[in-house]
């Protein structure tokens, strides 16, 4: 068992509220990602769980035990820091067993665990090096090794991949996820990178200005964003958001003539993911290409519909000169409606559901 429960946890720094009545549960063996833009309070939240900051209000429970006022070492959690926080004067080996030495573990047991962990993270040949003689990825492994050698079952990670280059980051993502599953650790992982959240998490907690914006599996967040913020934050590029207006035959994109679906449009915002939009030969919605950006595997087209701009992702190369008139269609059931004033997802009965713009 290694379950973390937060109950209405609030943290204030003077007058500033960094974390505002956040409640969530990280179940045993789950990979939970705290996702949000910088300054949203996600790192503070992690530091509250670790005990590096004092909770202003609320409770934190680990395995049902109230740890709200306990010092960090009594919470039996490990942590990986963004800067890795390796001790620069100690060798890899000394860095990894630092905590075991603090706890006066006998040398035999210590060396046994060291050998195991070094094998797991692939550092067996580098145990005598100092941190400055290691590459970024190797330092990352040392930090990971130091976190798992304590066998705490709970590991907190604060943007551990943000100092690595893109290629290494992908590799480490896979490795960390595999390690977590093999050891059955409960991981709370902080990141601002939605790709990391989507690819690693069992559960994503999207945070905005100290509050939980949406919580769910990566699939939930992708398929059913609860707010405009969530819609825009998940996906590369994020969801297109188009202001709607009332037209003669139903809702239209502001400034456009083509009816999208019957019913009210004013005061609503339409969300549709770039990968769910495609070009149609006839029917659909009239649009004008403003630019196209070739990415290799796919092309991102920027098009104007009425007064709104949207991105569409087309596989392969799709050469379209600026100014070309095209017609757009979208995948059935991929439209989302939001209340433009509150930013919240519109009631389910208002959602266009299966209604799709006819495409040939």
């Amino acid at each position: 068992m290694s379950e973390i429960v937060l109950e209405k946890v609030t943290k204030r720094f003077g007058r500033m509220t960094a974390v505002d009545a956040v409640s969530f549960r990280a179940e045993t063996g789950k990979f939970v990602v705290l996702l949000g833009p910088s300054g949203c309070g996600k790192s503070t939240l992690l530091r509250l769980i670790a005990g590096l900051e004092d909770v202003t209000e609320g409770r934190i429970l680990i395995d049902g035990r109230d740890v709200t006022r306990l010092s960090p070492d009594k919470r039996r959690v490990s942590m990986v820091f963004q800067s890795y926080a390796l001790f620069p004067h100690l060798s890899t080996q000394e860095n990894i067993v630092f905590g075991l030495k603090v706890r006066r573990m006998p040398e035999g047991e210590r060396l046994k665990r060291l050998a195991q962990v070094a094998e797991v993270v692939g550092l067996a040949d580098l145990l005598d090096r100092k941190p400055q003689q290691l590459s970024g990825g190797q330092r990352q492994r040392v930090a990971l090794a130091r976190a798992i050698i304590a066998e705490n079952n709970i590991c907190l990670m604060d943007e551990p991949l943000s100092n690595l280059d893109a290629q290494l980051r992908h590799g480490m993502r896979v490795e960390i996820r595999a390690l977590q599953q093999r050891l059955g650790m409960t991981v709370v992982y902080v990141t601002h990178d939605q790709v990391e959240a989507m690819s690693m998490a069992d559960r994503v907690v999207l945070i905005r200005e100290g509050r939980i914006e949406q919580e769910g599996s990566p699939e939930d967040l992708y398929a059913r964003p609860a707010t405009i913020f969530a819609a825009r934050f998940i996906g590369t590029p994020g969801m297109n958001l188009l202001a709607l207006a009332d037209g003669p035959g139903g809702a239209v994109v502001r400034g456009s003539q083509d009816t999208l679906f019957p019913g009210r449009g004013g005061g609503l915002t339409l969300g549709v993911r770039p990968e769910h939009v495609w070009l149609a030969n006839s029917g659909g919605v009239a649009a004008t290409v403003t630019s196209s950006e070739y990415h290799g595997a796919d092309t991102i087209l920027t098009v104007r519909v009425g007064e709104e701009t949207l991105f569409m992702r087309a596989p392969g190369q799709l050469a379209q000169a600026a100014g070309t008139q095209v017609r757009l269609a979208w995948k059935p059931g991929s439209l989302h409606l939001f209340d433009a004033a509150t930013g919240m997802r519109a009631a389910e009965e208002l959602q266009p559901g299966r209604l799709a713009v006819a495409a040939d």
Binding site: A50, L52, P72, D73, F81
Partner: protein
């Protein structure tokens, strides 16, 4: 030809360095092998005679012992105190800037002013220490006039003056340490003392080395206070090497012997610096 500008730019500094540092140093070394010249008896080469004289000079040995005792008394104390103060004022505490400033104040005072200040503390009967002691019914004591207490008095004053200066270096080094290191240690359950012993202190080693070399040099170099407080007395009990050199050169006008003493002092300092660097280099972690 294209190097001419480089040499021209170097010339002013080179002239000053050679004229006021290197030439006097070499001249001193040469002088130490000659007798002191007078109008009747001009200076002549005497080989190591001045050094033989030095070996037989009981005052030299006493002054050297004094200086070593002074160094042993002031260096570890002022460094330990500096480190302690730096760790304290590096923490979050109310009026931190004020505390830092007040610790640094002794450093900006000239040594002569400091000596005058402490003269007032040490003066028998009317001095601060005796006034306070009188309240508890203790007898008056001539702190600076007693050969058994005079060195301790000078050491206390020097520590008071030096510690604040060294604190600044430790403070700067402490602030360059990432706070995440301490947090990582805290999560592992390391106590403050354990963290200090295994992380902070080793990481401060370069600073400690720097401070140690400076403190050693200062303990042989700083003699301003002797002019105000004791003039080396009573009976050379508080005389230090550099002050003795001054006396030999400008009170007794034995310039050759003063040169000899100077060479010995320089050799001593150089030897100590080399030993310190080599001993500590092995245990120093440079980032």
């Amino acid at each position: 030809m294209r190097n001419v500008y480089g040499w021209l730019l170097l010339t002013p500094a080179a002239i000053l360095l050679i004229g006021f540092t290197h030439y006097p140093a070499v001249a001193t070394l040469i002088d130490s092998f000659f007798s002191t010249g007078t109008v009747v008896r001009p200076s002549r080469f005497v080989g190591l005679a001045n050094y033989a004289l030095l070996a037989d000079d009981p005052i030299f040995w006493q002054v050297l012992r004094n200086n070593l005792a002074f160094a042993a008394g002031t260096i570890p104390t002022s460094i330990a105190l500096a480190l302690l103060m730096a760790i304290w004022v590096n923490d979050k505490l109310p009026a931190r800037a004020l505390v830092r400033m007040s610790y640094f104040t002794p450093t900006i005072l000239p040594m002569v002013a400091v000596a005058n200040l402490w003269l007032f503390f040490y003066t028998p009967q009317i001095g601060l220490i005796d006034k306070v002691a009188a309240v508890f019914g203790m007898p008056s004591h001539n702190w600076l006039g007693d050969p058994s207490t005079v060195m301790a008095c000078l050491a206390v004053m020097t520590v008071w003056k030096e510690a604040g200066f060294f604190m600044i270096f430790y403070l700067a080094a402490l602030q360059s340490l990432s706070p995440e290191l301490e947090e990582a240690a805290k999560i592992e359950g390391a106590s403050r003392w354990y963290y200090f012993r295994r992380v902070t202190f080793p990481l401060l080693m370069p600073t400690t080395l720097f401070v140690l070399v400076n403190a050693t040099i200062n303990s042989f170099k700083l003699v301003d206070h002797l002019f105000i407080l004791t003039k080396g007395g009573p009976d050379n009990a508080s005389n230090l090497l550099l002050y003795y050199i001054y006396q030999v050169a400008f009170s007794f006008f034995e310039t050759s012997y003063a040169s000899t003493l100077t060479v010995v002092l320089l050799a001593l300092l150089a030897a100590m610096a080399i030993v310190q660097f080599q001993l500590i280099e092995k245990r120093v972690h440079y980032r």
